[in-house]
């Protein structure tokens, strides 16, 4: 600006704008937030005015003030163009503030930032190195892909300049360019190698960073640098000089020579040596040297050691070196400094998979870290502890972890409890210890135990049949002490429902067997279900348990009936349904009750690795229970689904007794032929159980003798499994099976067509046609198979067979034959023609032998 201009401005009446310092002082002097806002708004108005009037002299001061106000949180975008003007000004002060404003107010999100590209380009060619530096600094902070493309050439030229100050800045700008526009990497590769030979540490450092960035972005460049003969030896040489040379005041930090450069070199060496034998060998010596010579009393030394350990673990180092690295980590763990311990735990977590034995040596220290008050350290220590558990140390480790669980914060409880449970499954030395530990976890973690752990625990319990008495006693004791913990309540009530007779029987070989009477047990269950802390799921578990107990206890039938009665009006549909069914069962079909509520056999554990068609495997995983078939000698074709009572953990379904008493009140009491279809249980999404009532109930009561005739054969068992899906997914096509005519009489012709679903399972497609002139109504086909087979009868398409073969009734029957015997089937046919009802029975034995080949 010229002296004349300045004079003119002064002669005009405009007072000089406030100095930055004064503004800051004024703002700080404001007593209240409102005052502060007032001061700031006033000043902002003045600034805006002076911007409008293109005040060159004080623009710099105004922008500085604006930047301060911006830091306090006020918007300042109207200053962006002013920054542009400042950058374009020849004055150094202006440029300085202008570039600062650009980095604070302009970033790649604003299109305006491209306007400074030209000024930046000019400044990069400036004579004064500091102006070049300003421009590069700004570029490195805010450049966008477009700006990178524009100015990459300039930056690359500056990389080759002789001025160290400029070179190092240019190198870091190169890093930034590569991050934004990876394609531009190649133009920097030739220039960078010579940079490594520079004496200036800054240049060396930035060159190393640039190479590191290039190698981590592009595998080809990595290979290139690995192959270049000088790189690794060069780096090793630089590192060696740093360690061996004496005290250099310029770069010294607490006795260590230029730790920043050392760490960056180690980082690059790690990248170069990873999975490359030659490079790794070249580094072994220097790594050992660094590891042993570095001072560990201060944080600096530890920073270098940390990086060294990371390097050693990543490259193909010799085993002695690896042991050295793990020992360093072990020493870190004993360090008083929390930061160091944190860093050590972190690193150990990364290497524990590959070097388990070495890490095991430090197990006790790690376990001690569980007691550290710092939450970050605790978190790391817990993860590491779980990684270290193996068959040998499982008892002591789990003991420690349970201590930890008791005192842990809620955020840890869920993680710890689910991990303890899965660990126990893998490494439990014996069943009893397993069950004890699970109980401990349930009481320790309270309501934080995840739901699938409850299910897996129940599964485990059902498998360990010898311990049922012991288990139910322990659970009873535990539940008595605290009924508010939901997972414990769920597991305990399930066990009491299943094994309640063992509980009251009392003959357990325990130190202090608990004498529990039926009433006491029922009291406890009642208190749980009525407690306000009981969740919906828990109530369902408990109600089912109470109902099951009616088959276990001998004297409490009345009481149980009374207990179940109020829930017939419960607002919860699940509770209501179960209690209504139970009440109906007890009133009209009490003789069936014991069979229905019989104890469940041990649940089969589905191997999680089984990939039996994804949906099949997945759904089977989720249902640890497979309802067993009920054998009933006295009851002929009695076939009812056993209901375990416990709802699915994920799907929240209820398998309720699927007898259709409600729909058939008129049928004679006693046997029912219940050809029930499958429940749709599978699928990850919680699905409402839809059961398709199969064959329509006979409109007349079935005479008993028919049942007896069929009584020799195995009662049908409908398989409510995911075999439906299994069938869908696995369509193993074998040789096709010819169809047969199963039944033929003057009125009806029934054909069987076959479709193989799996080597053991065939679907029979029944087709009934009517060649007569009259329609056949109330068509009903029932079937029974030998004991070793399993049968599923699906819903027929209807019960009217139109005359003259004009249509058909179709029905699917699924037969599973695990023992591969010859197929036999007895059938009973009922239908009405012209008002006359007929019934027919017979046997189908012309099944093709290829059916189960």
């Amino acid at each position: 600006m010229s002296v004349l201009q300045a004079l003119e401005e002064k002669l005009s009446k405009m007072p000089a704008p406030m100095r930055l310092k004064d503004l800051i002082r004024n703002i700080r002097a404001a007593r209240t937030a409102a005052d502060e806002r007032a001061v700031i708004q006033k000043e902002l108005a003045i600034i805006r005015n002076s911007f409008r009037e293109e005040d060159n002299t004080y623009r710099c001061r105004n922008v500085a003030k604006l930047l301060y106000i911006n830091m306090l949180g006020y918007p300042a975008h109207f200053g962006q163009l002013e920054c542009l003007k400042l950058i374009a000004s020849p004055r150094f002060t202006d440029k300085r503030i202008g570039y600062l404003g650009a980095t604070l107010l302009l970033d790649e999100r604003h299109d305006v930032h491209l306007l400074i590209t030209n000024s930046m380009k000019n400044d990069m060619e400036h004579n004064t190195q500091y102006i070049v530096g300003l421009s590069l600094s700004c570029f490195g902070s805010i450049c966008s892909p477009e700006m990178s493309r524009d100015l990459a050439g300039e930056v690359e030229k500056l990389l080759k300049s002789s001025n160290a100050y400029v070179k190092k800045k240019a190198a870091l700008c190169g890093v930034r360019i590569i991050r934004k526009v990876p394609e531009l990497m190649e133009m920097f590769i030739p220039a960078v190698r010579s940079l490594l030979n520079d004496k200036n540490h800054g240049v060396q450092l930035t060159a190393v960073v640039l190479i590191t960035e290039m190698c981590s972005r592009s595998p080809e460049t990595l290979l290139h640098f690995r192959k270049v003969k000088e790189i690794v030896p060069n780096l090793v040489r630089i590192l060696k000089n740093l360690i061996m040379s004496g005290y250099s005041p310029e770069h010294d930090v607490s006795g260590v020579s230029d730790p920043f450069l050392q760490v960056k070199i180690l980082r690059l060496l790690r990248l170069l040596g990873k999975s490359d034998m030659d490079c790794s060998e070249a580094m072994n010596d220097i790594l050992a040297q660094v590891a042993t010579n570095t001072e560990t009393s201060k944080n600096v030394g530890n920073a270098i050691l940390y990086e060294t350990v990371l390097c050693i673990m990543d490259i193909k180092s010799e085993s002695g070196l690896r042991v050295l690295a793990i020992n360093i980590l072990g020493r870190f763990l004993l360090n008083n400094d929390k930061n160091i311990r944190y860093v050590a735990l972190n690193t150990l977590l990364r290497v524990v998979q590959s070097d388990m034995n070495a890490v095991q040596r430090h197990r006790s220290t790690i376990v001690d870290c569980l007691k550290d008050p710092d939450v970050s350290i605790k978190r790391r220590a817990v993860e590491l502890c779980f990684a270290l558990i193996n068959g040998n140390n499982v008892r002591s480790m789990v003991k420690e972890l349970i201590f930890f669980l008791d005192k842990a914060d809620p955020e840890f409880k869920a993680y710890t409890s689910s991990n303890i449970i899965s660990t126990c499954e893998r490494h439990a030395p014996n069943k009893r210890w397993h069950i004890d530990t699970m109980m401990r976890v349930l009481t320790g973690a309270g309501n934080y135990v995840p739901e699938d752990s409850v299910a897996s625990l129940i599964q485990n319990i059902s498998e360990s049949s010898s311990l049922h008495g012991y288990i139910v006693q322990q659970l009873y004791k535990g539940l008595k002490e605290d009924i508010s913990q939901q997972p414990l309540a769920q597991v305990a009530s399930w066990c009491m429902g299943e094994y309640g007779d063992l509980l009251v029987g009392g003959a357990i070989e325990e130190e202090e067997p608990v004498q529990v009477s039926e009433d006491e047990a029922l009291d406890l269950l009642e208190s749980v279900i009525q407690s306000t802390s009981a969740s919906q799921v828990t109530k369902e578990y408990v109600l089912q348990a109470i109902l099951k107990i009616s088959a276990r206890f001998t004297h409490s039938a009345e009481r149980i009936k009374k207990m179940a009665a109020p829930y017939t009006q419960s607002l919860d549909t699940e509770l209501q349904q179960r209690s209504v069914e139970f009440t109906a069962l007890v009133t009209s079909h009490d003789n069936m009750r014991p069979g229905l509520l019989e104890r469940m056999p041990p649940m089969e554990r589905k191997d999680e690795k089984q990939v039996n068609g994804d949906m099949n495997g997945e759904s089977e995983d989720r249902k640890p229970m497979k309802p067993p078939s009920v054998q009933h000698e006295s009851k002929g074709l009695l076939e009812l689904l056993e209901t375990p009572g416990a709802p699915m953990p994920n799907a929240g379904l209820s398998l309720s007794p699927t007898h259709n008493q409600k729909t058939e009140p008129s049928s004679s009491g006693g046997e029912l032929l219940d050809l029930l279809d499958t429940l749709d249980l599978s699928g990850p999404a919680p699905a409402v159980p839809g059961f398709q009532p199969l064959a329509p109930m006979p409109s007349q009561p079935a005479p008993v003798n028919i049942m007896d005739a069929l009584g020799t054969l195995e009662p049908m068992v409908a398989q409510p499994q995911a075999d439906l899906l299994g069938g869908l997914v696995n369509n193993i096509s074998g040789p096709s099976i010819p169809s047969v005519i199963a039944v033929e009489n003057p009125t009806l012709k029934i054909e069987f067509a076959f479709e193989r679903e799996s080597p053991d399972k065939v679907a029979i497609l029944l087709r009934a046609t009517n060649p007569t002139l009259n329609p056949v109504t109330s068509f009903l086909f029932q079937a029974a198979v030998p004991k070793t087979f399993q049968l599923e009868l699906m819903t027929p398409s209807g019960d009217l067979v139109p005359p003259n073969n004009s249509g058909a009734v179709t029905q699917t029957i699924k037969v599973t034959n695990p023992s591969r015997q010859a197929m036999r089937m007895r059938y009973k046919l009922a239908y009405t023609v012209l008002g006359n009802t007929s019934q027919e029975q017979g046997e189908v034995n012309n099944f093709p032998p290829a059916m189960f080949s």
Binding site: V3, A6, L7, K10, K21, I24, R28, A64, M71, L72, G73, P75, R91, F92, T93, R96, I97, T103, D107, Y130, L136, S137, S141, I142, K168, L172, C173, V175, R176, H201, G202, L205, T206, V209, E250, H251, V253, D258, P259, F260, L261, V263, R267, N299, V300, N302, A303, Y306, E307, L310, K338, N339, I340, R341, Y342, V343, D374, V375, S376, I377
Partner: protein, 158 residues
Amino acid sequence: MLQFMLLFSRQGKLRLQKWYQAHTEKTKKKITRELINTVLTRKPKMCNFLEWRDLKIVYKRYASLYFCCAIEDKDNELLTLEIIHRYVELLDKYFGSVCELDIIFNFEKAYFMLDELMLGGEIQETSKKNVLKAIQAQDLLQEEVQATVTALEQLGFL
């Protein structure tokens, strides 16, 4: 690479913010607020590192100011502590026994110093001497121009 660096007082007032990644104003404010809250609630004996979102946060308290850096997963936390310390040492040398007020009233100089120490989130100069030399030289450049203006002021022309 450093993602950002924040300096704030114990009352939660921001004194300096340097962002090496682009974010909207709103995001920056949100991050700042969250981070300040998280760091201020930490007890004094706890370790200086914490995990936050997908970044590692390294913070250190010097007198009444918290220096807080966010680094990426692969960076060395202990070295970041050293970087913070180096920055404080430089400010100390420059201002002569630096205190929070110095940084408040000379915030632009604090930025300049940071720009000489780091560029694009990486260290550029490991020698304290060189950084201070560069700053001094630039200050001198600034003063030369200023000298003309002051002279005119004193002569009563401005």
